[in-house]
């Protein structure tokens, strides 16, 4: 069965610093991979997704993620974090059988 691991429960970065959130997955076939963001008091919003093709995908709000099949990873990155990026981030794998990771809470220091 598919599963997703987000090793970091909580990450703190300074505003303007770079960010990388880790995601590892287990899936029996070529995975569909997603990152969602949940801002305080709001619903989940899709940041980006990977289905096939270029392994580096661009998303909204300046985020990108890279699919590495050999490492079963789909890490989320942003070159310069803004205070408004403070939120919970969820990695997900699958299609109709979508499964989510436990989430990584991002705190941004001024």
């Amino acid at each position: 069965a598919q599963s997703v691991t987000q090793p970091d429960i909580h990450i703190t970065v300074s505003e303007g610093a770079s960010l990388e959130l880790r995601c590892n997955y287990s899936y029996g076939a070529t995975p569909y991979l997603f990152w969602y963001v949940q801002s305080p008091g709001q619903g989940l919003q899709l940041l980006l997704k990977y289905f096939s093709g270029d392994t580096l995908v661009q998303g909204i709000k300046g985020f990108e993620a890279e699919f590495k099949r050999s490492q079963s990873s789909f890490n989320l990155r942003k070159p310069s974090v803004h205070w408004s990026d403070a939120a919970e981030y969820f990695c997900a794998v699958g299609g109709l059988d979508m499964r989510f990771g436990a989430g990584t809470r991002l705190t941004v220091k001024p």
Partner: protein, 114 residues
């Protein structure tokens, strides 16, 4: 257009009571999912509806949980004989046909069992 809506936004109930949570998906979306989000944990898959197919109930934690989707639109998640461990945010998401697999989430219902 209108997004996914859920009601009520908050529900406080006494242990042992039954509760019903409602989800109105985006019009025309054929797939509907229910998840549970407990404090400090990720999204736990509960149940999935796709068109007229039999729902995937593999995530329901016990037989106290059930869900219906009437007319391929509105869905109701029912929890019978609620327990304190049922306290969580219950999220609903819908997805359009065609294989985009992008789920649109509602704001959730926060359930507190006292």
């Amino acid at each position: 257009g209108a997004g996914v809506s859920q009601s009520p936004s908050n529900k406080v109930t006494e242990k042992g009571k039954d509760v019903e949570l409602r989800c109105d998906p985006i019009s025309g979306h054929t797939a509907l999912y229910w998840y549970r989000q407990s404090l400090g944990q990720g999204l736990e898959f509960l149940i999935y509806f796709q068109g007229n197919s039999a729902p995937d109930k593999s995530g329901l934690p016990s037989d106290r949980f059930s869900a219906e989707r009437t007319g391929g639109s509105v869905s109701t998640l029912t929890i019978q004989r609620t327990q304190q461990e049922d306290s969580a945010v219950y999220l609903c998401a819908s997805e359009e046909a065609g294989g985009s697999y992008e789920q649109y989430f509602g704001p959730g219902t926060r359930l507190t069992v006292t």
